[in-house]
Amino acid sequence: MGYITEKQIADRLDLPVALPTTEVKRNNWLVVATFKIQSPMQLTFRYLQLQLVDFTTVGTSGVTLVESGKGMCYVGIFKNYDGTSPSGNPNLQGTLNDVVIASAAGVVSRNPDNASLVLTGGAVPESYSFVLVNNTTNTDIRANINGQIRLDLNIL
């Protein structure tokens, strides 16, 4: 592992992924942050926490999920999500790259010891959006997000 220089640190930014506690209605979603990159940039995603603060149904047994396996709510990184369709549903609009899932009230974290997700910019600019999705059809939720993604502006 090499040392880093002033130039390298000047080209590296830690970008916030931050949502204060916010209500998301049933079967709805919210874009939290969007980053558009192209060569020679690179994003490295390692650290994020999602807190499901509370929800409107009593208990989780009566909750109806839109997609099984994705909990009551989740944060996903969607590629090229633009929300231009009438539904705007991120699952229909972009490619899911990484996800943190909350199935009950409490805090869940992306395990920082897991391999980081590395997104390298190509010749064409591409955007990556963190989207908080309420994955239920009958429950409103309140959640907050704290996380970080690292941007290297020039990896060449």
């Binding site: 040392y3 880093i4 220089t5 002033e6 130039k7 640190i9 930014l13 830690d14 970008l15 916030p16 992924v17 931050a18 949502l19 204060p20 916010t22 919210l30 874009v31 939290v32 942050a33 969007t34 980053f35 558009k36 990159i37 940039m41 633009d82 929300g83 231009t84 705007g88 600019p125 955007s127 959006s129 941007l151 502006l153």
Partner: protein
């Protein structure tokens, strides 16, 4: 090219630009960040993204100021009261369509004049409510 020291890295602060998806009414603005820059400090405005997620209604926008896009993110100097006026030091415009725009990080601005700086998102239409996201970071060198 020199290696980094603790003294160098301790004087570098990344200040977030973090506006989650938010509704802004017609001809309205929102201050999303305010920075007081002191003597000997340098603000590097290099990396910001603006995402116009949707408009309500979908339709033909009527611009308030034809010099800017439908929605723009502006960096202003001086204490701004009420709606922003004049030309920002730097701006990021979404001209016509939904989507994402980002600054060119290789043509950035370094600001060393002590003042109060504000990042403001403006809905530059008189007939649409917009849903926008702003993301990024500004770097401040505390000692130069």
């Amino acid at each position: 090219m020199s290696y980094l020291t603790d003294d160098i890295t301790s004087g570098i602060v990344d200040v977030p630009i973090a506006l989650p998806q938010t509704l802004i009414g017609p001809n309205e603005s929102l201050v999303i960040s305010t920075i007081q820059l002191k003597t000997m400090q340098v603000l590097k405005f290099r990396w910001a993204n603006l995402h116009l997620v949707k408009t309500d209604p979908l339709g033909s926008p009527v611009k308030v100021n034809s010099s800017f896009g439908l929605v723009y993110l502006g960096l202003y100097a001086g204490h701004v009261l009420g709606k922003p006026t004049g030309t920002p030091l730097a701006s990021l415009n979404i001209e016509t369509n939904l989507g994402v725009k980002c600054t060119n990080p290789f043509a950035h601005r370094d600001i060393a004049v002590p003042d109060t700086y504000q990042l403001i998102v403006t809905n530059n239409t008189s007939n649409l409510t917009v849903s926008v996201v702003a993301s990024g970071a500004m770097r401040i060198y505390l000692k130069t």
